[in-house]
């Protein structure tokens, strides 16, 4: 297994849930991990504490990914301190679920702002640094590719990441930068616990593995993709969904 020794990583929305699991995995493989958060300072510090008690190195950084100036300052500070950035994991995301006719314009915009605009701002700042040392990996965490009721905003944003990742991969590949899109199905996190019970039961029935994923399983995938073991992958979407997407692709269920 390739290590990430001496690499510098930044994970947006790294204070809890899938982001926290990714932070801990990258640190376990030897990277210095910058844990970005917006509001949940205590949870970000808890994540840092856990990372350090596992023997890892990291720091926390408060910035709102929807604000280009805050993003710019964060990446500038990371560069001044470490002189490089090897891994960016665009993980920050929010939910504002509502059936379409009940979805307000702000439900729509807020989700697109974090899930898509935030990825634009952060990736741009990261590519500036990565192109300087001609290496780097950007991993965009989307969500399951199967459309869910009440999530027009979420699905639009997350599928936007498919195109974003493909196009950016073509453009920055010659600079030694890889771009990947990871599409998780249902995972047990704080955010998924807001889903209603009938939806949760339905997901079991339609998932071949008949369970939800555990955050460390997603983290292991991100760790692999971030490492040199995956040096030939770029521009691809990789689903980690217990087979849910395969069912829809072949059976339309």
């Amino acid at each position: 297994m390739a290590t990430l020794d001496r690499r510098v990583a930044l994970v947006t929305g790294g204070s809890r849930g899938l982001g926290r699991a990714v932070v801990l995995e990258l640190a376990r493989r030897g990277a210095h991990v910058v844990i970005n958060y917006r509001r949940r300072e205590q949870e970000a510090r808890d994540t840092l504490e856990q990372l350090r008690s596992d023997g890892g190195e990291g720091s926390v950084y408060r910035a709102d990914v929807t604000d280009p100036q805050q993003v710019q300052r964060m990446f500038q500070d990371v560069f001044e301190r470490h002189r490089r950035l090897d891994i960016l994991v665009n993980n920050a995301g929010i939910l504002r679920d509502a059936y379409f006719l009940l979805m307000s314009a702000s439900d729509w915009w807020e989700v697109l702002d974090v899930d898509l605009n935030g990825v634009f701002h952060c990736s741009k700042a990261a590519v500036r640094i990565m192109a300087g040392h001609r290496s780097g990996v950007i991993i965009n965490i989307g969500s399951g590719l199967v459309a869910q009721l009440g999530q027009v905003n979420h699905n639009a944003a997350k599928l936007g990441l498919v195109g974003f990742s493909r196009a950016l991969a073509r453009e920055v590949g010659p600079k030694g930068i890889r771009v990947m899109h990871v599409a998780p199905g249902f995972f047990k996190t704080e955010m998924s616990e807001t889903l209603n019970k009938s939806l949760i039961d339905a997901t079991y029935q339609l998932t071949p593995l008949e369970r939800w994923g555990a955050p460390p399983e997603l983290a292991a995938l991100v760790g692999f993709l971030a490492s040199d073991d995956a040096r030939c992958f770029s521009g691809q979407t990789i689903a980690i969904d217990g087979g849910r997407g395969a069912v829809e692709a072949e059976y339309g269920l």
């Binding site: 991969a169 590949g173 555990a214 030939c232 992958f233 770029s234 059976y251």
Partner: protein, 247 residues
Amino acid sequence: MSGDLSDDTDVQAVLIHGAGTSLGLAVGREFVRRGMTVALYDAARPARTAAIARELSAEGSVLDLSELPLDEGDVELNLAGIAGRCGRLDALVNLFVPNGENGVADLQSYALKLYQRDLAAAAIIALYNNNGMIVNQFLLASSFADTELGHCVAAARGAIAGMTRTLCVRHARLGVRVNGLLVGLLDAPEIKVLASERVLASTTPLRRWAEPVDVAKCLAFLVLDSGYITGQLWVMDGGLTAGGNGP
């Protein structure tokens, strides 16, 4: 809430089908280094497979089982025999590199044989592991461009992509996962011999062709560390098809 991992998931023995190539050597070496018992099988290339087994046996536990029947007759019974020789069977890796001038003829029956083998293997693996793995490695047509071999590779790839997704549903009931790894431009001696000067894609966004060791690292991740991934087709191509069609 069943977010828990299965407990009996230790992957100890892997069968590599189509092992008698540079790809087989790299993949076998990676699994041996990770402490697994590795069974090599390639009835079409027995001499090369035997040489690879000799080379790798210095590094760990390797068996060359090419003399046994596998794809003819009762495939499940044959696989049970192979599992018996290994002591158990947790994973099957199907490797594909076209076999010289026979490439096109081999391809016409390749997907059907792969289907029968994957079907039988799930039943055997389920006896030993409740989160076992089958990986079908195949190629995109990139390396062969607009040639007869390229067309046959594309047709077989379509068949393998579809059956990987449908088998994932059936196999999940047995506690076995199945995934595909599709390699674009592969920097292997066997492929270079076959690739004509008409190869369309002379470069990739990453300016890199995949080497056998890259395939090996990826297969090791899929077999050993990819617990919640099934029914997926990964494309390893240095970003070549990033703007185009998925599988």
